[in-house]
Amino acid sequence: MKYLIIVSLFVSSLCFSQGNNLKSQKVSFNVKGVCEMCKDRIENGTLKLKGVKYVKWDIISNNISLIYNSKKIKLDDIHKEISLLGHSTDKYTAPTEIYNNLPDCCLYETLSIH
């Protein structure tokens, strides 16, 4: 029946997206940054990585929480890629030349001296 098509479509896509969650890993670690601009850079940059599903970076704690698909990307690679955005993580320090090109308000090393 027609009604069944609608309901089964709905239920099966629910199951599909729930099943997807099983492969999802949730982690959080430290990423250095100062301002809302950093937040934008970190979140957008990380979200562009294949396998990363969800990112949230907190300014005050410098804590990033993310959900990613462990079959598509390794945690170590996420750390590395974030450091290449100019923001040092627990595992990788940002290369100096990339760091130096950050917008003024994102220079966490110099700003934290204050």
Binding site: K2, Y3, I5, I6, V7, L9, F10, S13, L14, S17, N21, S24, K26, V34, C35, E36, M37, K39, D40, N44, L47, V52, K53, Y54, V55, K56, I67, P103, D104, C105, C106, L107, L111, S112, H114
Partner: protein
């Protein structure tokens, strides 16, 4: 096509005017109580478009943001400040040392009452409650008078009801929802908007063109969503009192209570009464009905952030009684007077539940259920019209992502049930109908701050009377430059035409009502179906260091099938299905400019081309102005420390010629009404954040239609109160107060 090319060219040229800087100095009070420069402060727009750091001298400078007027100042050891920047090119900021005893310093410059977003994919205009205050009376249909996207006009000379139109089409072609539950439909189509008191409204979202698939297949020219006040965030007590020289008195009282940090409840009461007899045009008929109404709403809100749940429960009852017709008080009648009455009662209840998965924050589930019972008993002269509608609506929406949070999906189900019982004084005068539908929808959106975003949705509905069908909707936004946005939209919509309840102005006439039955499911007629597509271009600019923008909207609605309401023959009114072409093309050009710090200027030109195939030929829609012009100026004085200020608002409307259906009493007009102007104005004295008094006038010039009631003898076939092109009553003045605690 030439029109569009012209618009695009203009759009690109005007882009050259953008890109301006805001600059200033950041200071703080040092230990020796001297104001000193502060170095190293992060200054950035809330939308993160630009940011900078203050230098040794405390100076900063950054480009203006396209989408944000909130500038954030942040520095370790100091309070974070968010400042709303109006049009100032210079802004100096004093930082306050972070000390928990000090209150957070939030400087509010000015906030626009109508906001158009650069980032939303759909063409949505948000109307805040401040904008609603500009038209103090009384309900939301009247509040659109200061809003150029929606046209408000009287639908007839006796009921005092105002009708709203968007893109040249009447309100039945709009989907009007209350907190995303379809609300003003079926039996409540004509009077429904006037049953929502303006003070209950928190904000409104007006979507031009076909909206999202989530709320159903019914929207054709646009959607209006009304968000009501929420007990958790509304003031504990608010009182609004209103009185006009036409004898209308109104009281609104809101009380809200938070029982704990999770549970809160609010009671909203609205009462209005109009007992004075007004017949300023001396046609023997009341210009406005005498009426009394009350409306009571109790809602409960439960939020639990730890578990990620929020729910609402609401119950509402309203009753509205109107007496219309001839003024029997001062006249001696040698015949029975033409009188009428419209008595409506309505019960509503709704339940909403939302759940956000706190460990997977991009997944959420929403459930909505609403039940309503609407009863209208009315008579117009010797005609009766009664309608009862019981309605149940429910939907369930699941939100998630594909891949990452830039790609969002919504999917869900709707179920709706409506049963109608109508008594109409035409042949076969009892109509009963049950509409049942179940639908599934899927919407994908690509949502980023980048240049392109889109929303694509499709739904499939199975309806007992409309059949089974797909409804596709597509929206796209392209932002080639910071202050330039192009939006496209495309979609289809369908609806069952409730011909009597949507066209109640047919009853206050002597016309013989005819239905050209072609064995359709709705009064013998087939349902309506239309495609809507449009383009919107918006360009922001800075002239003289002040912000402004210009918007071009061009939308087309093409009807595949329509129920034609034919007023063309005197003494007759016919309903029949479209046989030929019917379209509505609307062009709207908006200009908005901050003239001075406290003065905002808005101006709009609209051109409508609404034509359809009548049995008597292909004609322009009657009583629809081809051209309209609108100007609004709002101004305020600077706010004093205690929050006191003056606010001024001025609206000018010019309404162009309208085609009039032929009627012997209108023969002098030669088929077209004269153009005219309307002026509304309001002055508000704000004494403090808690108390204000307002005074205002509507139609201050007092322009009225000379002969709104046509055809001498009110029980004859030539009698007509519905060929209305201008206001019925003259200048209206009002005074009122607002108290918030």
């Amino acid at each position: 096509m030439n029109k569009i090319l012209f618009l695009i060219t203009f759009f690109l040229v005007s882009n050259l005017l953008s890109q301006e800087l805001i600059s200033g100095k950041v200071t703080y009070i040092n230990e020796s109580n001297i104001e000193s420069n502060l170095e190293g402060v992060s200054v950035y727009w809330e939308d993160l478009s630009y940011g900078a750091t203050s230098n040794v001298n405390g100076n900063y400078s950054i480009p203006f943001s396209a989408s944000s007027n909130k500038l954030i100042f942040k520095f370790i050891g100091f309070k974070e400040d968010i400042v709303e920047i109006g049009d100032n090119k210079k802004y100096n900021h004093l930082m306050v040392v972070d000390n928990s005893q000090l209150d957070e310093v939030v400087v509010n410059k000015r906030k626009k009452t109508i906001q158009k977003s650069y980032f939303k994919t759909q063409n949505i205009i948000n109307v805040s409650s401040d904008e609603l205050l500009k038209a103090a009376c009384c309900n939301i249909s009247e509040s659109f008078e200061t809003n150029p996207s929606i046209d408000v006009s009287y639908s007839n000379a006796v009921t005092g009801v105002k009708q709203v139109k968007m893109l040249g089409l009447e309100s039945p072609y709009l989907l009007i929802t209350e907190e995303n539950i379809p609300m003003i439909r079926g039996a409540s189509q004509v009077y429904g908007l006037s049953f929502i008191p303006g003070t209950w409204v928190e904000s409104m979202q007006i979507t031009k063109g076909s909206g999202s698939v989530v709320n159903g297949f019914e929207s054709i020219s646009g959607q209006i969503n009304v968000e009501l006040k929420k007990p958790y965030s509304d003031n504990p007590l608010s009182v609004n009192v209103y009185s006009s020289n036409m004898g209308r008195n109104e009281i609104n009282i809101h009380g809200n209570k938070k029982f704990n940090d999770k549970l809160s409840s609010g009671i909203y009461l609205h009462v209005n009464k109009n007992s004075s007899i007004n017949d300023n045009n001396n046609d023997g008929f009341l210009d406005q009905p005498t009426s009394k109404a009350f409306n009571l709403f109790n809602r409960w809100q439960y939020i639990n952030p730890e578990k990620g749940t929020v729910s609402f429960l609401g119950v509402r009852y309203m009753k509205d009684d109107k007496v219309i017709g001839e003024n029997t008080k001062d006249m001696a009648f040698i015949r029975a007077p033409w009188k009428g009455g419209i008595n409506t009662s309505r019960f509503d209840s709704n339940f909403k539940f939302g759940y956000v998965n706190t460990s997977i924050p991009y997944q959420s589930l929403g459930l909505q259920m609403a039940f309503s019972k609407h009863d209208q008993n009315s008579f117009f002269g010797s005609r009766n019209y009664n309608i009862n509608q019981n309605s149940f609506y429910s939907n369930i929406i699941y939100n998630s992502i594909i891949g990452n949070t830039l790609n969002k999906i919504k999917l869900g189900l709707n179920y709706s049930y409506d049963d109608f019982d109508e008594l109409v004084d035409v042949k076969n005068n009892f109509f009963t109908r049950i509409d049942k539908s179940i639908g599934g929808f899927f919407e994908y959106s690509y949502d980023s701050m980048d240049a392109i975003s889109l929303v694509a949705g499709i739904r499939y509905d199975i309806h007992n009377n409309l059949g089974s069908f797909f409804t596709p909707r597509f929206h796209m936004r392209y932002q080639p430059y910071e202050k330039s946005v192009i939006r496209l939209s495309l979609g289809s919509g369908r609806k069952a035409s409730n011909i009597f309840s949507e066209n109640q102005n047919i009853f206050a006439t002597g016309r013989e009502i005819k239905i050209n039955n072609n064995l359709g499911k709705f009064y013998g007629l087939d349902p309506e179906k239309a495609f809507n597509y449009g383009i919107s271009l918006r360009q922001g600019f800075f002239i003289n260091n002040r912000e402004g923008d210009i918007t071009f909207d061009y939308y087309v609605t093409d009807f595949d099938n329509q129920v034609i309401v034919d007023w063309e023959t005197q003494g007759e009114l016919s309903f029949y299905n479209l046989n030929g072409k019917s379209f509505s093309k609307s062009l709207q050009i908006d200009l908005e400019y901050q003239i001075l710090d406290n003065v905002l200027f808005k101006s709009t030109f609209k051109n409508y081309d609404v034509k359809k195939q009548y049995n008597s030929g292909f004609k322009q829609n009657p009583l629809t102005p081809k051209n309209r012009f609108f100007t609004n100026i709002e101004a305020s004085t600077d706010e004093n420390e205690n929050g006191s200020k003056w606010k001024f608002d001025f609206t000018y409307n010019w309404i162009g010629n309208q085609r009039l259906p032929s009627h012997t009493s209108l023969i002098d007009f030669k088929g077209s009404s004269p153009s005219y102007s309307l002026v509304n104005s309001q002055i508000t004295r704000v004494f403090s954040n808690k108390f204000e008094i307002y005074i205002g006038g509507e139609n201050i010039g007092g322009y009225t239609q000379k002969n709104p009631v046509l055809g001498g003898y009110p029980f004859g076939t030539d009698f007509d109160t519905s060929l209305i092109y201008a206001p019925i009553h003259g200048a209206l003045f009002y005074v009122g107060l607002r108290f918030n605690n």
